[in-house]
């Protein structure tokens, strides 16, 4: 099964984190992604820029609306996605537990319903 590991955490203010802390987090994500890759379960890994770089687009209310910032202001913001392919939830929990993001935030494990693979949507 494919699972998205969605990292959520409070975004640090500019200058809140020292370079040392940032470098350490980078190292942790490097080790983590390589472990996922070597296990053959990693499909995608993206760490996102903070939400002040976000632009939101909607046509839900008729006309096109482009807005500066995320669609909902929350204390914890989506901060990154790891997409993994593992046999079951226990395996997904096992990888989520090791995600560096758990140390300062939350990792949501969301099963993938359908994915566009090899030119078509999977069943």
């Amino acid at each position: 099964m494919r699972y998205a590991l969605l990292m959520h955490y409070a975004e640090p203010a500019a200058g809140e984190l020292s370079e040392e802390v940032v470098a350490e987090a980078r190292r942790a994500f490097d080790v983590y992604a390589k472990a996922l890759d070597q296990a053959g379960v990693l499909r995608l890994a993206d760490v996102l820029r903070s939400s002040d770089a976000t632009t939101t687009v909607t046509r839900r209310d008729g006309g096109l609306r482009v807005q500066d910032g995320p669609f909902a202001e929350t204390r914890e913001a989506l901060a990154g996605v790891f997409l993994i392919d593992v046999p079951d939830l226990d395996a997904a929990i096992g990888w989520a537990e090791k995600c560096p993001g758990t140390q300062w935030g939350f990792v949501e494990i969301r099963p993938v319903a359908t994915a566009f693979l090899d030119g078509r949507w999977s069943a």
């Binding site: 099964m1 046999p87 079951d88 939830l89 226990d90 929990i93 099963p111």
Partner: protein, 420 residues
């Protein structure tokens, strides 16, 4: 358990109870196996229901097969396969008895059908399932109780319980919760959740209120027995089985003349069930042989000391004090703390017990103030110390927090007797 075993107004019918349990036991085993194969409880339940329906239609005419469980399993497996082949056709295509019935020469030995109920119990108590649904899911899937029966036991509307059960089962499939034994590292934690859920079936006997009789131990003891056969090397499973059996052995003596509530120390020991006490001791011995102490074994040990009064005529309070101290060390709880204070009062006097209780309550905050057993003990200890005015107030607040009508009238009587 309330509502599950038929209630205490009917005389016990051991043969009917045994037959019902055998049928439910085989259903639980078949469901565990089918859902492990399908990874989908709901589909497995539907397939098994189809198989039962087909049995009702064909067995009267053709006779009961030599191995009914094997027959049901084969039919249910065929149904599951059909569903996989054609999800669209499953609602429109009628069962074909010729195709769906297994050949009669195909013999199944039920003892050779693998028992996957532990995997099923682990799924029911999975950390990704809402804790409050662990026990209801087990009662539903492992023991085959209906949502209506479980709803009564949990004092909840049937529709609410049914909805929650359906949601939990869908979630098992959608989230990909596996029907397999967890890794060695994870097993202790996962087993602890299974034990907690079985324990949950035991404590609802105490949590339920109202006029219905509490038919302790009902199914908690049965579930615990099943668990000990699935994991015979787990001392805590044996400890839990022993705990429930010791407690249920005293069920009859808990009610006196006119439905009066009788506290443990005043119970007529000749009304305790010696067979159940014997079985509980067997489980404690099996637990001891595993050589790993745990919370449920200690709780069972405490019950064993209480039950020994049937033999010795006295209660060994110093041993109880040791056991309660140990229990509070390895698994501290508010209830355990109150019990420790009560036993301290028996060994070191009411003043020492009250001091310990007040110390506990000072640290427990608002939860301590609402904890009924603590209020009851405080009233008893104040009475013993001759502080009658304070005891009266303590009894009043205890009565306010007591939901069981029999225990409430018992406390009212004790309060009234203070004036004499």
């Amino acid at each position: 358990m309330v509502g599950l075993t038929g209630g205490g107004n009917h005389p016990a019918r051991p043969a009917a109870l045994a037959a019902g349990r055998a049928a439910r036991e085989s259903r639980g085993r078949l469901l565990a196996l089918l859902s492990a194969a399908a990874g989908d409880l709901t589909a497995a339940e539907d397939a098994l229901a189809d198989a039962f329906e087909q049995a009702l239609r064909t067995w009267p005419a053709r006779g009961i097969p030599d191995n009914p469980d094997g027959w049901l399993l084969t039919v249910a497996r065929n149904r599951l396969r059909d569903r996989w082949k054609s999800a669209a056709a499953r609602r429109t295509v009628a069962l074909d008895p010729e195709r769906d019935s297994p050949a009669y020469d195909q013999q199944w030995d039920f003892d050779l059908i693998p028992d996957r109920r532990l995997e099923l119990m682990l799924v029911c108590a999975h950390p990704a399932i809402d804790r409050t649904m662990h026990t209801p899911l087990m009662l539903d899937t492992v023991l085959g109780f209906t949502a209506a029966q479980i709803a009564v036991a949990f004092a909840m509307p049937t529709a609410t319980m049914a909805t929650r059960l359906v949601r939990a089962k869908k979630r098992i499939k959608a989230a990909g919760i596996p029907f397999r034994l967890p890794d060695r590292d994870d097993l202790p934690g996962r087993m602890a959740a299974v034990l907690e859920a079985v324990y949950g079936a035991y404590v609802i006997d105490w949590a339920t209120t109202g006029p219905q009789p509490r038919t302790l131990p009902g199914e908690a003891g049965y579930l615990a027995e099943i668990l000990t056969t699935l994991v015979p090397g787990d001392p805590e499973a044996h400890g839990l089985a022993a705990l429930v059996q010791f407690s249920s052995a005293r069920a009859a003596a808990r009610t006196g003349a006119g439905g009066r509530f009788v506290p443990l120390t005043e119970q007529d020991t000749t009304r305790w069930d010696p067979d159940l006490i014997g079985r509980a001791h067997d489980h404690l011995r099996a637990a001891h042989a595993c050589g790993r102490l745990g919370r449920f074994q200690l709780e069972a040990g405490i019950q064993a000391v209480h039950c020994a009064r049937a033999r010795t005529g006295t209660t060994d309070w110093p041993s109880l004090l040791d056991l309660h101290r140990l229990l509070q060390t390895i698994a501290p709880s508010l209830g355990g703390g109150v019990a420790l204070a009560a036993v301290t009062a028996e060994v070191d006097g009411a003043a020492a017990g009250l001091a310990r209780l007040d110390e506990l309550l000072a640290g427990a905050g608002a939860a301590g103030g609402r904890f009924q057993p603590a209020r009851v003990l405080r009233a008893h200890l104040l009475e013993r110390l001759g502080r009658i005015g304070e005891a009266a107030g303590a009894y009043d607040s205890a009565v306010d927090l007591t939901h069981d009508p029999r225990e409430r009238s018992h406390l009212r009587e004790r309060r009234a007797a203070l004036r004499n």
